[in-house]
Symmetry: C2
Subunit: 384 residues, 2 copies
């Protein structure tokens, strides 16, 4: 199937975690994997060669954003999304349904598709399941998400059920219209925080026979236990041989817990977005470089980190770059945060290979941010 294949090479005995390889026409992705987000074809503040240097194996772009600017025809004229982005490794495109439904008052969904106003120039557009497949076939990513209806939070059960069933009908239409053999179209699970709806969505979507699946409509405002419960409700109903993506999730603790629940790939803007607000991810949690305490701080962001920012710059130097408005500040923190996230995935994969994922998971959650996200604390926080 066009050079696309997913092999599971190791499994955890005590959870659904698995170590695999997702082969694409643009190269393999060792899973569990994290995809930095390059919404408009570029991971903000990094060049493709920086991504290679960090060990990035897959980038997530956004079909809606690229359709609005520069437009599908222009992307095609420039040789497709790989050429446009200067990244010739594996690419994913999200449909942008999430972004469109987030355009407050500027989108209207019906059973056939969605009509919306461009955030770039205010022009009116219409997306249908078929048009979004056509758009993504033009863009040419390796792994693509169909148009779905992403239910916000909180949502009454009836709304969640309706959105889930529209998503399912759209999935079927997308599946029928998709023809590129060198591209995998995902089936997306919706259902909000309702476990039975998540299970129904997973079962019905799986019956359509997609080569890969994604869980959407998470990280939209629900609690962490609700998010993990949605994953737990869906995964058992998805085919065991197909890769599973968790859309928009990428906090360290959520990655570890998502892997434990059978997720193979993740994407999230968080590591790159917070970098631009001067926040660095560390095992102690986030540190904000704008804080005056760092003005003459000679320490690197993280003494144990091997990234370029930590090897070459003190916290004080990076703080200066942010205060002075130099692009080098966001560049360095983006390098660091993507490195931190990819390093977590490397450690997860190594633990799965050596059969030590259970211990890794327990130790990580106990140590990361001083155990703030350890399961006991999460349960307490939710109960309180």
């Amino acid at each position: 199937m066009g050079g696309l294949r997913f092999d599971v090479v190791a499994r955890d005995g005590a959870s659904l975690a698995r170590r695999g390889v997702l082969y694409t026409p643009h190269g393999p992705i060792a899973t569990p994997a994290f995809a930095p987000v390059g919404t408009q074809g570029a991971v903000k503040a990094l060049a493709p060669r920086d991504l290679l240097g960090l060990g990035v194996e897959v980038v997530m772009a956004n079909a809606y954003h690229l359709a609005m600017r520069p437009g599908a025809d222009t992307v095609a004229a420039l040789g497709g999304l790989h050429a446009l982005s200067g990244w010739d490794g594996p690419l994913m495109t999200d449909s942008g349904g999430f972004q469109i439904f987030s355009l407050q008052g500027a989108s209207r969904v019906d059973d056939d598709g969605v009509t919306f106003k461009s955030h770039v120039d205010g022009s009116m557009h219409r997306f249908t399941p078929e048009s979004v497949v056509a758009l993504q076939q033009t863009l040419g990513a390796d792994l693509v998400m169909p148009l779905d209806v992403c239910t916000g939070h909180p949502a009454p059960r009836a709304r969640a059920a309706h959105d889930m069933r529209v998503t399912l009908r759209w999935a079927e239409r997308a599946r029928r219209s998709h023809t590129r053999p060198d591209q995998w179209l995902y089936g997306i699970v919706q259902g909000s925080v309702y476990a039975d709806l998540r299970a129904e969505s997973a079962r019905s979507t799986a019956q359509l026979g997609f080569p890969a699946y994604a869980i959407g409509g998470v990280s939209v405002g629900e609690s962490k236990p609700e998010m993990l419960a949605a994953v737990e409700a869906a995964v058992p109903h998805l085919p065991p041989h197909a890769p599973r993506h968790l859309l928009g999730v990428g906090h360290p603790e959520d990655i570890v817990e998502g892997v434990a629940r059978g997720i193979d790939t993740f994407d999230c803007v968080m590591p790159t977005r917070v970098a631009r607000t001067a926040a660095a991810l560390t095992m102690d949690g986030r540190i904000n470089l704008r804080n005056a305490s760092h003005v003459a701080d000679l320490r690197p962001l993280d003494p144990a980190c091997g990234c370029y920012a930590c090897q070459r710059f003190s916290r004080g130097a990076i703080r200066h770059l942010f205060m002075a408005g130099e692009m080098l500040g966001p560049h360095l923190l983006t390098l660091h945060n993507v490195h931190f996230t990819l390093d977590l995935l490397r450690r997860i994969r190594a633990a799965l290979e050596s059969g030590t994922f259970g211990g890794f998971r327990r130790d990580f959650l106990a140590r990361y941010a001083h155990g703030a996200y350890a399961p006991a604390r999460i349960a307490t926080a939710t109960a309180g």
Copy 2:
């Protein structure tokens, strides 16, 4: 003298052009050389490792800017300017006199120094020749410029003469207060467009016995022939063994003509500044990537260029990055423009080594921007 030395290794027979090596405690600089400007300790849109990859051998920072933010004490606490910037190659610092005198209505110069308002927070400061030497000794660059009075353009002769003589007295005071043996303090020539004042300034400054000299007060609004005439008037009066820097000059044609008149090093914000406005330097002159003609332009910026931007991205892709507000756009054009400028210097050095500088100079000026800056055209333009 602290690892500082300047060797001339080849000379052009028909001009004052020379090929040399300026040794500093942080490494050698092959001359003629171009220093990209990192005003606040960072060359905008590039990381130090990008500079290394481009072959940059010296960076010009600005003592005034660094004194205002993060402040000399903070730079010292963070290990000096090399540590702050993450660049451990040769560094120059300009005093920032030019920037202070450009603060319209916010600076007042007297015979002893200059009082001014910080552009960062409006606080009042005073610089004297001695305080600027102390500042630069704290920053710790290898090559440093004393405080001078930079005459604007146009300036009546009396003003130019007065500024030049204040600059000379300040140079003497700076020279006396400078003590770091691992740092070269330059003597700066002023005198505006008046050849006799330039000659007097050069002679008198040379009598103070600096290890290196700079020509300042150029590229402030005068014509190209006036700028070159100022260089011609000064150079013969400077010691032949000392390196000569031309402050703030870096247009390709000016570099070639400056070299022919005996200049060894240049610095200029132009290549990096215009990159951020989407302008790429090419042998055909500047091209602006925001121009709609590039929307589906599959060509690289320059098919003959070996830089990362030209190897990996089409003009259309770079245009998209600019239109979409991605930092990668300025990053790529900055890489390209610095590469273009450094490549010009590499070709100049090679021509000097092979004794073909005369032909190189003639051919370059005839070809660059379709000969717009060939000597005949400049003369015509000035006459017209």
